[in-house]
């Protein structure tokens, strides 16, 4: 089933990513079934334009928050401030969770693009275009 990301959420992701550029920005997309209800901001603890990581304590806090709202973590997202909306080799290598989608927001050339991917065993097995 296709993951639906409402326009207001996409707008929020773009604003967050532009605000945190040139560093990569990131978060979780929380929702019910396959519709995103909320963007949950996560700190990029690498504070880098080329890399992002979540702190485990922040991840569990997000999980706790999602449960309190009866939401599920549908996807992780991060920005590529200056590269396309597709997973890098490192993104693929670190995409270990088979239960969620991985969304990538590109700000390349000032034209935001948002795709999400299902990644299994380091390979993209599904792609959805959201913007």
């Amino acid at each position: 089933m296709r993951m639906i990301i409402p326009q207001n959420i996409i707008k929020e992701l773009i604003e967050q990513a532009r605000k945190e550029a040139p560093n990569e920005s990131c978060g979780y997309l929380l929702g019910t079934d396959d519709e995103v209800i909320e963007n949950y901001w996560m700190e990029n603890i690498d504070h880098s334009p080329e890399h992002f990581s979540f702190a485990p304590k922040d991840q569990f806090a997000a999980l706790k928050y999602a449960r309190s709202k009866n939401l599920k973590i549908l996807a992780n997202w991060h920005s590529h401030p200056a590269s396309p909306s597709r997973p890098s080799q490192e993104d693929l290598r670190l995409a270990n969770d088979p239960t969620i989608r991985y969304a990538i927001l590109s700000l390349l050339d000032g034209e935001p693009k948002l795709n999400s991917f299902k990644i299994l065993n380091g390979e993209v097995v599904g792609k959805e275009i959201h913007l």
């Binding site: 990581s53 590529h80 200056a82 590269s83 270990n96």
Partner: protein, 75 residues
């Protein structure tokens, strides 16, 4: 059989069962890439084998989340 909660879902498991064994049962492909909490307390990896689970325990595990842009790959 005992009832425990794994990532929010109830599961029936056979005891004794430690955290390391549970993670294997969950078919986690790369256990070194997950962080675990038992009853909302972090379970350090070196303690996984010594933490015995009991009825109604709540176990959550999350995969490490990170990545890099293509700029890093090219550099």
């Amino acid at each position: 059989m005992a009832k425990i909660y794994v990532n929010g879902d109830v599961q029936e498991v056979n005891l004794p069962l430690n955290v390391s064994e549970l993670i294997k049962q969950q078919d986690v492909q790369q256990p070194e890439m997950v962080s675990v909490q038992v009853n909302e307390e972090f379970a350090e990896r070196e303690d996984w084998e010594s933490i015995q689970l009991k009825e109604d325990d709540k176990v959550d595990f999350l995969y490490f989340m990170g990545g890099g842009s293509e700029l890093r790959i090219k550099s």
